[in-house]
Symmetry: C2
Subunit: 120 residues, 2 copies
Amino acid sequence: MAPAADEILGIHLIADLAAQGPLDDPARIETMLVEAAAAARVRLLEVRLHHFGDGQGVTGVALLAESHISVHSWPERALAAVDIFVCGAHADPQAALEVIRAHLDATILRRLEVPRLGRP
Amino acid sequence: MAPAADEILGIHLIADLAAQGPLDDPARIETMLVEAAAAARVRLLEVRLHHFGDGQGVTGVALLAESHISVHSWPERALAAVDIFVCGAHADPQAALEVIRAHLDATILRRLEVPRLGRP
């Protein structure tokens, strides 16, 4: 069944950040993702992390019962790309973004809110 | 170092699909993600899958050296949400989307191409 005209299945916050925080530290990014999921009031299934080497970036994905949160970091440029895609009326993606912004000591360069799977 | 004015670090394709294909089959979604990464000419780090139960949806994420590809499915609605976020001039996100569209026997309801970490 397609969603009704005024229904959406999820909200996807896209944010590009200029960050002074621990962009090359997978343990701190893992903690950040766990706290972001809690702030968003979603159920965390697992966090997966890849660190591309000393002083290099980290890819971190939190798989959620309500979709995902991802962070990709470029410490050499002090940049991070964040996606917070959450479904359900109870979820609070903006709270997750604020947790991530604070952990990374970041300024939001760009923020885009995309309704997913509703009418465009 | 911030990117130059005309530089972007990645392209993020967002696509919402109406799909007749195997939205409740994690093994087929895993194969699809592997083939999508190959089509995009990116390096796959790992695929993680969660199946929410018989006849229910799947969350699948392909972690890439160049960011990620994710699929969330709702078989009860015949809908899927796809994200293809790839960095590097060699990557071809559209080719990955076409692989996913074909695997899921899908129509693209909405497609949005977001440059990441460049100037808005």
